[in-house]
């Protein structure tokens, strides 16, 4: 009986803490986003910092995105190739691979990889700056941490997440073609022709449009947890962990919401 009471108490305590944490995150990240939007449109503008972040967060993620997209293309082609062969549908591989990569796997896997690499990097860097009082120093020197730290990262992710997704789409479809050619004996000209004719512009645009939101989620979440870091190196580790987990979950949830929304829009 005593153990049951303890379990119920523990369960509700955890539930309350999680809800409180979620509410704090929702309020804090929205406030951070609004402050960032205001900062984007008021001088001074730090274009150099934006370019630097595009390089650090975007260009330096190319190899990671390349490997992920290529492997995905390989796997999709193999799975659909051998799977559909049983029903005599091997020739649908270009359509299925192209559409699933364009609409879903390209944007989501790219942004999940970015959540891991970029989200953790942002949270760790800002968190370290916070615990070593560098964020306080930015304020004490009469400058705005939102403008100097948050805005360049948010803008860089808004630009780089869609660009990297386009890159991932191309690499993924290319990877699918390599396997189709070598393992499934599908002619590459047929693969390209089928890929181009069966895909619609909306398959591409809807996939890429999602990544603007995903990029925003990754950068704002990373900045939010970084700026809230307390408690030294342990706090930095915790902030990094929270940033990756939260942004990954948000990507998955918003992916469903946007996918549903886009299909509704497409049917209208």
């Amino acid at each position: 009986m005593q153990q049951t009471k303890y379990f119920i108490f523990y369960f509700f305590e955890r539930l309350f803490k999680t809800l409180w944490h979620l509410l704090n995150f929702a309020g804090g990240s929205v406030a951070l986003l609004l402050n960032s939007v205001r900062a984007i449109f008021t001088p001074p503008f730090y274009f150099g910092l934006f370019v630097e972040q595009c390089y650090k967060l975007g260009l330096r993620s190319c190899s990671l995105v390349f490997i992920t997209a290529l492997s995905t293309g390989f796997v999709m082609s193999l799975q659909f190739g051998y799977g559909l062969e049983r029903f005599g549908g091997k020739l649908y591989v270009p359509k299925v691979v192209g559409m699933s990569i364009m609409r879903e796997l390209g944007p989501v896997l790219t942004c999940l990889m970015l959540a891991g690499r970029v989200g953790s990097g942002i949270a760790a860097e800002i968190g370290s700056m916070n615990v070593t009082q560098q964020i306080d120093a930015i304020r004490a020197l009469g400058t705005d941490p939102i403008k100097r730290i948050v805005v360049p990262r948010v803008l860089a992710m808004l630009l780089m997440a869609p660009l990297l997704t386009v890159f991932a789409d191309l690499v993924g479809i290319g990877g699918g073609m390599i396997i189709s050619m070598s393992e499934l004996n599908i002619n590459p000209d047929f693969y390209i022709y089928e890929g181009i004719t069966s895909l619609k512009v909306t398959d591409f645009t809807f996939g890429v449009t999602k990544t603007f939101l995903f990029g925003l989620l990754i950068s704002v979440t990373g900045c939010y947890y970084g700026l809230r870091t307390t408690g030294g190196t342990q706090g930095v580790g915790q902030a990094t962990n929270y940033a990756v987990v939260t942004s990954s979950i948000l990507i998955v949830i918003f992916d469903f919401i946007l996918t549903k929304l886009f299909w509704i829009l497409e049917k209208i």
Binding site: P44, T132, Q134, D136, A137, R139, A140, L141, G142, T143
Partner: protein, 254 residues
């Protein structure tokens, strides 16, 4: 040897602190602090750990916001200013962080150039000259191209001081400027404080370093239980008969 200078005779009120209260949870860190800070003086905030010295120092530049009370700098109440409005105050009041808080991705030169680029229209050449000249004041002009990670703790603090004084502020707030430093670096920093005092710069120090307190300070404020328990010149504080104060100075209790 650090040369101690006399307290200025004509006192111009620069910062007026009235009725400051600050709570962390249930704990009152400040429970009604009143304090005047005069132009050109060196004032030390002294007290045991957790008595709110650093919180008070941070409040003077708006990095912390008191729950009650006012801090007037000129005719502006720092406690009610927004971050945007505080920018003007922060150009005139500088803060030296305990461990320098240098931007570790920037070189020493870039660290010093940071406030100049943010608040002045100087050309790159003028910025370079100003950086070199300020670094020479702290004896670190040869370290201009190094990263903070290449510097010792004492050198980082001196660069931190240089970054704080580069905009020629009226007030400099030092958080534990000499704690953990070797005698050479301690003397360097105390000499900088005195040189700045000669130029009319006001300094407010938070420190546990008794040597620093009694060698450079004009006045000392002793914080205890959220209030200022004792306030006076360094000599007066040294000879006050308050057993709590004397216990703190002698290291027997706090």
């Amino acid at each position: 040897m650090v040369q101690r200078h006399e307290q200025p005779t004509e006192l111009e009120l620069l910062i007026k602190i009235r009725g400051i209260k600050k709570f962390f949870g249930d704990k009152a860190v400040h429970d009604g602090i009143d304090l005047d800070i005069y132009r050109g003086e060196v004032l030390t905030l002294m007290g045991g750990s957790g008595t709110g010295k650093s919180v008070l120092l941070r409040s003077l530049i708006g990095l912390e916001h008191p729950d009650q009370g006012s801090i007037f700098f000129g005719n502006k109440d720092i406690c009610v200013l927004s971050e945007q409005q505080l920018i003007d105050v922060r150009k005139r009041i500088a803060y030296v962080f305990q461990y320098g808080a240098l931007f570790d991705s920037l070189t020493v030169k870039e660290n010093l150039a940071y406030p100049l680029r943010a608040h002045t229209q100087l050309s790159e050449e003028e910025i370079h000259h100003r950086v070199v000249s300020t670094l020479s004041k702290v004896g670190l002009e040869k370290s201009i191209d190094l990263l903070p990670s290449d510097l010792s703790g004492g050198m980082q603090r001196r660069v931190g001081v240089a970054r704080s004084i580069i905009l020629e502020p009226e007030v400099i707030l030092y958080d534990e400027p000499t704690t953990g430093l070797d005698p050479y670096n301690t003397r360097q920093i105390l000499n900088i404080i005195l040189q700045l005092k000669d130029h009319g710069v006001t300094s407010v120090l938070v420190t546990h370093d008794m040597h620093a307190i009694f060698s450079v300070t004009d006045r000392v404020a002793f914080l205890k239980d959220g209030k200022i328990r004792a306030l006076g010149t360094a000599k007066e504080i040294e000879h006050m008969k308050d057993p709590v104060l004397q216990g703190f100075i002698s290291g027997e209790s706090w």
